[in-house]
Amino acid sequence: MSGQPWRPVVVCVCLLLLLAVALPAAMAFGAEALPVGRVVDALRGGGDLATRTIVLDLRLPRSLLAIVVGAGLAVAGVAVQTLVRNPLADPYLLGVQSGASVGATAVITAGALGAFGVWALSAGAFLGALLAGILVAFVTLSQGGLTPLRLILSGTVIGSALSAIASYLVFRSADPAAAQAVLFWLLGSLAGAEWDRLWIPTAVVGVSLALLMAASGWLDAMAVGPDTASALGVSVPAVRAGLFALLALLVGALVAVAGAVAFVGLVLPHIARLLVGARHRFVLPAAALAGALFLLAVDVVARIAVRPTEIPLSVVTGIVGAPVFLVLMGRRRYSFGAAS
């Protein structure tokens, strides 16, 4: 049926190989540049102790977190664009990220959740995200169901209200360093990467990707339209509710460890579709791999562009992402998910 049925598979394998090469390369960059050979030595347990410490305890967890967060945001982007059938949707559309920012701001400016120690910021962000997700779901359901338009409207409105609350918390805070910390968190950073903090987001992203892959046929039908999906035996309300719940947890978990990294969830799904077509079976893994590769590269730029300070990730993703998005928009062949 398809003239090039192997193409999506080849693309995914190429992305995977690129990622395998990019990972040690990314770890070579940093405050102290290391030759890739020494990075690889350290990864295999050789080299001197200082190098091993830098590579294994600092750069490897950080690079892996970049991969997990990049993959997760791209996958969340695919899911949200299918859920609301809108090519301009990004994972933060549903207001979840604004809830996370209220939680994180409360921790930073008011010392909330002190009992969680070093996990307080992540816990605050995750709880805020979940509460915002529940609020958006509750409002949308009480108005008649999780339809795309209602989700977009209530997500945007509730998101704005929560952002206002976060801004007020910063405004009220007497500590100028707190404002700086909130801003840095809002713009996304992987500086907090540690081995301890890696497994939760990894598990959440892995499980999310597996679930979405398992439902990929349903998602294809949903992308064609809700009427076609129900005609094909798909329970549209159940799939929508499942997607929403999964997105709230996924975005909450990612924002909790890396802040609100912009653009990845908006742009990478489109790039994946350009590479492998529209079927979710291929879009999801391609977006995950491309997102991982992208954020890995972005984090390198964020670390070394203006040494010795780190630039927030969203600054880099925005500067790279906006032109990419405009180029995509200019392509006549590509119409952003909707025909004509």
Binding site: M1, S2, G3, P5, R85, M213, A214, A215, S216, G217, W218, D220, A221, A223, V224, G225, D227, T228, S230, A231, L232, G233, V234, S235, R273, L274, G277, A278, R279, R281, Y334, S335, F336, G337, A338, A339, S340
Partner: protein
């Protein structure tokens, strides 16, 4: 010499493929359908017609099993659609919806293959059998060899036919089409309806164009004022329901009966 009369009521004939009884449906407080009965015999092409807002789409969706009625039952071959799981129902009734904005990067073959979704798990797909089914369905709608074309390269008529092929591949006893000729020009309307007739399937379709409905359907279901009645295409009845004057005219070349419409003389 007498005209062949319909079988007398109560005689032992094959039961209808679809039998809907006592359908009632409300949208909000507005009752759209009240105690509606519909039957469809196997092999028939039945058109649902009615004025805008009369509840054609609602009735179509209820008969296709994707929308539950507030009261009443829809039975297909003696099995209540409501008692089937969604998947089982989708293996027996195919509804082809209008779907105006299709994903542009999706290819024709991929869209058509979605029709196999009720027959396999949602993570599966691909393979030789799928390709064969898709090619056969595309050939049936006169689109052989287009499986690799992206949907945004299709004309409006081709898109309608691709959607129809999606319904054919579902391989069901009943094919339900929602306004299959909407937005098509005159030639594509004729082509598409001729193609639907030629499929040899049991078809239920909602149509806007009364003249086409009369010419391409064996029987019409008139939806009007909360009721639905099965009718042979009678110009007087159609005219009364739509509030227009309908005049049957013989086509000078083909000899087919066409309907001409005019504003009702009694309506100023």
């Amino acid at each position: 010499m007498t005209a062949p009369s319909p079988a007398p009521a109560g005689s032992r004939t094959a039961p209808p493929l679809l039998r809907a009884t006592g359908l009632t449906c409300a949208i909000g407080r507005h009752v759209v359908l009240r105690d509606v009965d519909v039957t469809i015999e196997a092999g028939e092409t039945v058109g649902i017609v009615g004025p805008n807002g009369a509840g054609k789409s609602t009735l179509l969706r209820i008969l296709a099993g994707v929308r539950p009625p507030a009261a009443g039952t829809v039975e297909l071959d003696g099995v209540a659609l409501g008692s089937l799981s969604r998947r089982e129902r989708a293996r027996r009734v195919a509804l082809v919806a209008q779907e105006e904005d299709l994903p542009a990067e999706l290819r024709v073959g991929e869209l058509v293959a979605l029709g196999l979704l009720p027959h396999r798990p949602p993570w599966a797909g691909g393979g030789k059998a799928e390709a064969r089914a898709v090619d056969a369905a595309l050939a049936a709608v006169d689109m052989a060899g287009t499986a690799d074309r992206p949907l945004d390269h299709l004309s409006g008529g081709e898109r309608r036919r691709a959607l129809l092929a999606r319904g054919l591949v579902q391989d069901t006893e009943l094919l339900v089409l929602d306004e299959p000729t909407n937005h098509l020009d005159v030639r594509h309307r004729l082509d598409l309806l001729g193609l639907v007739r030629g499929l040899g399937r049991t078809v239920l379709m909602a149509l806007h164009d009364l003249d086409l409905a009369v010419r391409f359907c064996d029987r019409l279901v008139l939806v009007h004022d909360g009721t639905a009645r099965s009718a042979a295409p009678d110009p007087a009845v159609l005219g009364a329901v739509f509030g227009v004057a309908a005049t049957p005219v013989r086509h000078p070349v083909t000899g087919e009966t066409h309907l001409l419409f005019d504003r009702h003389p009694e309506v100023p």
